[in-house]
């Protein structure tokens, strides 16, 4: 039988419906692939290539602290005028000079020297995308040497704005240099980074073999004043000058030129924009990655600096730090060297911040990977501001730099001192999921690692041991325990560790006994939909317009542990919903009578979101390049605190540490790059005395004694991770710490370490660090503002100090 629909036979109707459906499908997909159209302007229509204005050489701004001197040109020894576009900042306090071109290099008037190295002559470097590749262009070679720059006095700041015209690639970038407070600053507004369709004959097609003419936005990143924190290399083994990098706890790179004539490099802003190393606040988790060769410890604070003999310069990225990458090169024997000069220099070392303006993703397909950048639609990215603060005398070292950053936090971020510092900090794990069989059908069963009654017993014993100075963080007490699949453990507490009465009694016990207790919520990562948060629709979006996956990596091969290998793939909550997700956790805490909230990811995962949010009828990227992550976290935390809650941040980046009441799991090591020469506790110098803090757990460290001494070195609280019940099935858990966390195995060690350190740690609670130094490679000396001094000996032989003998693997305080 054949149906008839107004003359159309059934089979025809089906064909038409199928055709329309297919057409809709294709159109919708094509529609999805299309990008926001941006007007392409020709370079010559916007820039008048023959008419640029410039300030005369000389002082262009002055404050109580500095003189700013502009050098449009330099007269060479041959009497010729050479364009330089250099800016010098002269300190009125100590006479030190900090310049966009290293002063000694700039002062060389030999034309060969002036042209000797384009990079060191550049007060700006930009990286450009060209399809899937990126190339670095320095301002000297591409703009300054041709006189293609302009300078004008700032209308609203005490300084000047210099505009660099990269004619050959159609890019114009303006940089503000100005004096403010007790430092000088360099700022870039992303609105002043513009690229146009270059039409000039010498367009770079010959250089890179590709046509950039139709590129929409080409600038990937800008590095302003790359050599302002630079110095000529010192002689081998000279430890008087170094670069300072807050990688993890902190690290130094000596700038001596060594016998092997090898430059030590950290990060790479010129050729590897996809290299996450050096990113302030670690990698951006919205960027895909296939494998993860190393376990990286991120940069935790947005400052860096250089110690140059008796002077030092501390650079603080005061705005848009989330979008910045810090790169450093130490002991490069080639940099700035004129091979034809009679006495070539030793070369230069420098440390600088690169400002990323274009988001990217790494896309892997059929054996190749490609770099993709986001379309340059309107993005709400905040301008970059880097403040530079010269230090001299006793302050001209890494301690001085950390203290200067601390001052910045006190002055600008309202960081306040605290007398609190808990001697003993315990993290208790709640439960985990175990695979079970019912008639051969696998299912997940939750098993308690620590019940509320066991937690009460443990904390009771530890309270006696610590004398009451005790903090407890309850992790994995939400649904599914430590395997928590839904956001914030499903916004409910697991029943396997006890019922509501047990919980109530536990909370009551901790309150009456004065044990500060925090329940941990992960309001950033999740693996399954639930409680109104969808794994498909409420996640951060990468530049390809799809939810950014969050991978764990296999221990053996360091590859993604994804679905195909029995792992799980998660996502990050949309940046727009971060506050709401955290607020829901607070609501749960209110309901249960919990007053302490811990966040194990909010303070240490800094990520972008390329969701094109419609803002009053205009589609914009609101969170490109992790825009305002710090500001958002601070606001969210403040909201939580308003609700009479105390906030503990685990592994907190500086913005989260400032926002929190207590910080735990603070870094005690750097990223341990081969180019680092010394690990220093910058993080502790900044926050000790200002935030109650504790280091990462002692009992799960590779070397327990070393980890214990790390706490002593800076007066941080002792930390342990504990469970009450161990199960054979935990072997499937890749959390190494769990296997060393059984309370019964650790209680003696806790007692021993607490007894050994109680007097000292109590004496420095609330004290700030005023000095820290390495006496030998194994012995450190830390001085606190209340006069307490502690020597820590990591070596295997005793050390005789001025206050007595410091035993091997021990400490001595006065």
């Amino acid at each position: 039988m054949t149906a008839d629909f107004g003359g159309l036979r059934m089979k025809h109707l089906i064909k038409i419906i199928a055709l329309i459906s297919a057409l809709c499908l294709v159109l919708s997909m094509l529609g999805g692939c299309s990008s926001v159209k941006v007007e392409h302007k020709n370079y010559s229509d916007v820039v008048d290539v023959n008419n640029v204005e410039n300030l005369e050489n000389g002082v262009v701004a002055e404050s109580d602290y500095f003189k700013m001197i502009w050098h449009q040109t330099t007269t060479g020894s041959d009497g010729m005028e050479y364009p330089r576009a250099a800016i010098e900042f002269v300190s009125k306090k100590d006479g030190s000079v900090w310049s966009t071109i290293p002063k000694d290099y700039y002062d060389s008037t030999d034309p060969a020297g002036i042209f000797g190295n384009a990079l060191i002559n550049s007060s700006l470097v930009i990286t450009m995308r060209n399809g899937e590749q990126t190339f670095a262009y320095n301002a000297y070679e591409n703009a300054i040497a041709n006189g293609r720059f302009s300078s004008v006095k700032s209308a609203d700041k005490n300084g000047i704005t210099v505009t660099y015209y990269f004619d050959n690639i159609g890019v114009v970038v303006s940089v503000d240099y100005y004096l403010e407070d007790d430092g000088f600053k360099v700022g870039i507004d992303p609105k002043n980074i513009n690229s146009y369709v270059a039409e000039l004959e010498d367009f770079n097609t010959e250089v890179h073999g590709a046509n950039l003419a139709d590129a929409v936005q080409k600038v990937v990143s800008v590095t302003p004043a790359p050599f302002i924190c630079s110095a000529q290399n010192t002689t081998a083994n000279d430890k008087s000058s170094y670069l300072v990098l807050p990688s993890g706890s902190g690290a130094l790179m000596y700038i001596d030129k060594r016998s092997d004539a090898i430059a030590r490099e950290f990060g790479d802003y010129q050729t590897k924009p996809d290299n996450a190393l050096g990113l302030v606040y670690g990698e951006d988790y919205t960027v895909d990655k296939y494998n993860d060769p190393d376990n990286d410890t991120p940069i935790t604070m947005p400052f860096y600096g250089i110690k140059r003999g008796n002077n030092a310069l501390c650079a603080i990225i005061e705005q848009s730090a989330e979008a910045c990458k810090i790169t450093a090169t130490a002991g490069d024997p080639q940099l700035g060297v004129d091979m034809f000069a009679e006495t070539p220099s030793n070369g230069y070392s420098y440390i600088a911040a690169t400002y990323n303006v274009l988001g990217y993703n790494k896309v892997y397909n059929k054996g190749t990977w490609r770099l993709q950048y986001n379309d340059y639609v309107d993005q709400n990215i905040t301008p970059l501001v880097i403040g530079y603060y010269p230090l001299s005398g006793d302050q001209a070292n890494y301690v001085g730099m950390a203290k200067r950053y601390q001052k910045h936090l006190v002055d600008k971020e309202n960081l306040k001192k605290t007398q609190d510092n808990n001697l003993l900090n315990i993290k208790l794990y709640g439960s985990f999921l175990q695979d079970e069989l019912f008639l051969g059908i696998p299912y997940s069963k939750e098993l308690p690692l620590t019940t509320y009654s066991q937690a009460t017993e443990i904390l009771g014993e530890l309270k006696k041991i610590s004398g009451g100075s005790l903090t407890a963080t309850m992790q994995g007490f939400g649904d599914d325990g430590i395997d928590g699949n839904e956001l914030a453990g499903g916004y409910s507490l697991t029943g396997v560790v006890g019922n509501k009465t047990d919980l109530k009694e536990f909370i009551e016990y901790t309150k009456t006994s004065g044990i500060k207790t925090f329940f941990n919520f992960d309001t950033v990562r999740f693996y399954e939909s639930g409680n109104g948060y969808s794994i498909n629709n409420d996640t951060s979006i990468n530049i390809n317009g799809v939810p950014a996956p969050f991978y764990n990596f296999l221990a053996s091969t360091r590859q993604r542990h994804d679905h195909t290998k029995g792992g799980k793939v998660g996502a990050l909550i949309s940046r727009e919903l971060l506050a709401e997700a955290t607020g829901d956790a607070v609501a749960l805490a209110d309901e249960l009578g919990i007053t302490g909230i811990a966040f194990d990811t909010l303070g240490n995962i800094c990520y972008s979101d390329y969701d094109d949010i419609d803002d009053e009828g205009k589609t914009i990227y609101k969170y490109p390049w992790r825009n305002n992550m710090g500001k958002d976290v601070k606001a969210i935390t403040a909201d939580v605190q308003k609700n009479s809650k105390t906030v503990l941040m685990d592994g907190a980046f500086s913005y989260a540490a400032v926002a929190a009441d207590i910080i735990s799991n603070i870094p005690t090591v750097s990223n341990k790059n081969n180019c680092f020469d010394l690990e220093v506790p910058l993080y502790q110098i900044v926050f000790q005395g200002y935030r109650a803090n504790s280091t990462s757990a002692i009992n799960t460290a590779a070397n327990k004694r070393t980890q214990f001494l790390k706490s002593i070195e800076t007066g941080s609280g002792l930390s342990f991770e504990l469970i009450n019940n161990y199960y054979q099935e935990l072997r499937k858990q890749n959390m190494r710490g769990l296997h060393a966390a059984l309370y019964a195995d650790n209680v003696k060690l806790i007692e021993e370490y607490v007894n050994e350190s109680k007097a000292f740690l109590t004496s420095v609670a609330g004290a700030t660090i005023t000095n820290h130094q390495y006496i030998t490679k194994d012995v450190t000396k830390t001085v606190f503002d209340n006069g307490v001094t502690v020597y820590v000996n990591y070596g295997d032989t005793d050390y005789k100090s001025d206050i007595g003998t410091v035993k091997a693997q021990g400490f001595l305080n006065k």
Partner: protein, 727 residues
Amino acid sequence: MNKNPLLKSGLYRKAILLVMLVGIIMSMLMVPASAERISKEPYDTYTYWTAPGDKKDVSSAAMYDYETTITGADLGLSAFTTPSDIFIDDAGLIYFTDKGNSRIVIMNSDYSLKKVISEIKYKNETLTLNEPSAVFVTKNGDIYIADTENERVIIANMNGIASNVLYLPDDDVIPSNFIYKPEKIVVDSEGYVYVLSNGSYYGAVMYDDSLAFSGFYGANSVSGSILDIFTRIYELYIMSDSQHENKEKTLPYSFTDIAVDKDNFIYTATAPAQTNVSNTGQLKKLSPGGINVLKNKTTTTVKSAESFNFADDRGAQYPNMQGNYDWRTSYITSMDVDSYGYMYGLCSTFGHVFIYDQECNQLTVFGGGLEEGGQQGTFRKPVNIQVDDKTEKVFIVDQLLNSITVYKPTPYGSLVKKAQALTTAGDYVEAEKYWNEALTYDRNSQLAYRGLSRAALIKEEYETTLEYAELGFDQDTYASAFTFVRNDYLTDNFVWLFIVAVALIGALIFFFVYMKKKEKKLIKNPAVSTMFKCVVHPFEGAQQVRYYNKGSAKLATVILVLYFIATVFSEIYYGFMYNMIDKSTYSAAFSLIRTFGIVLLWTVVNWGLTTLFQGKGNMKQVYIVTCYALIPQIISAVLTTILSNVLVPEEGLVITAISVVCLALTAIMLCVGIMTVHEFGFFKFITMTIVIILGMLVCVFVIMMVFVLLQQLFTFIGTVYKEVSYR
């Protein structure tokens, strides 16, 4: 009244059942997610847990901790260039070959520079080193230098004075095209010298204690498969001479490193030439005759280590210089052995160090870098590993970082090494305290549980032994302890067990006698009676099914369900001493396919094909006799499962015998049943069975094809949905 038309038609119920079935199957196939990793070092430390049917890499406590990296600048020298080999002598002096700079660098034990040797005096002439690849120092201070590009081995002292030079021996054994490029060198305590020459697959060139050439030693062999045998026959008898000439020869892999232990056993490392090929038996311990004597001793078996993979099972993709991803396998290129006898293997790809004992038990894996290592303790191209026997430190030479990395053992590492050495030596009780302490660092240590179970066994603490042996998956030790526990139990409870047994037997005898005397039938239902008749009188039972329609499909289905339950019961509850499945990854879905799936497929294909060949039986009859034939299998599964929990493997013959008898009974019942219902002769039955099996294979293939296509269709629909919803 339910007005839902679907319900009315029964479709709704079917739909619910279908959804439930799909849900159950999906839940069975779903693999549980693992928790995230926590690590503090730049590299991961892990080990493999081995259990029946399971091998999983799990994070473990660090046995080694990074100590330092040594570069040319640290010694005040120019940069090392492709350093290749390192050696630590008894005095703690560290020698290594800075190959690219053609020099031997000697360091003190505090890593300060002692001496650089680039020229050596020998009989009034000066020998200049040319890219030396290896160095070895004997107890009396003789330094053996593999002067690679000069094609010689120089024997010199610390003052740079040579006592002898070894060139390629002039001997008939050595092929005329042999190129002598010494790359590795060891000398045993008897003075025998073993030299590995670049690319040589003949084994090591061996010199005796008078430094006279004494032949090649310990070459690898080419492994052969059945396919290789056919290929060889083809080559010998069919290939033309010109084809022979053009054919690429299959050569054994050459040794990539060599080491010697305190007992003068020679150890070698072997890696394939290609980095995307995996191999096994990478580490060898050679007898004086050059035979690999290394054994892989598991808790239940002792096998040759030739088939043991000393590296990671998994490979990985990683970016090459062109930005593409290459597939790389984990392979071991360098090795050393310490005074305990622990073997240290170095994987150049991943930068991992594997430590094994003499029984191929893995102690730990550490290091990393995946050829991109820029952090302390990670690597880009590690090429050589050496262990300092006195300090237990591990030294690794990296040819791209141009550095030497030093690891030192952690307290946990020292504990495990001590404990495992005592355990392998059989001193279990002495090892116990170390294992107990090691557990406080890592309760996930399988070696610790195994060591403790053996200690408890020696101490005759059998219950404790069982507990530890189960934790460590040590079936052998478990069985040993179980024998004692069982015997003790039997001894303690013999009287009442005897009484219960006698009472049971008596009751049974009384019951049967009573039933006979009263002429009462035990089974009244004819269908049930027929079913049991099929077991005890297969022909008679089958005839009742075929000709008297006394078979019951419902009863057959009950049998099939019982068979499925018995199979699952057996797989889950089979005795620990025999169990070879990983319960954590077990899924009853596979049992469902193996029971219901195969029976139904057999029935359908049987009926379909026999119909074409004059088979008289219908599908119902085939189904019934097939299911009835499973009764012995149900009995077997239940009995053997119970017995596997009572009998130790040495008594396992009883279990095997029950299995075999039941299997034979099933085969007979099936044979008789099918022959009867189809009225086939025996040979026709055999022929048809072969055809049916082939038919079943075709069906499986078609089902799989449909499954794959459906999977792709669903994936496509899912992708389209995601694309549309995200954009």
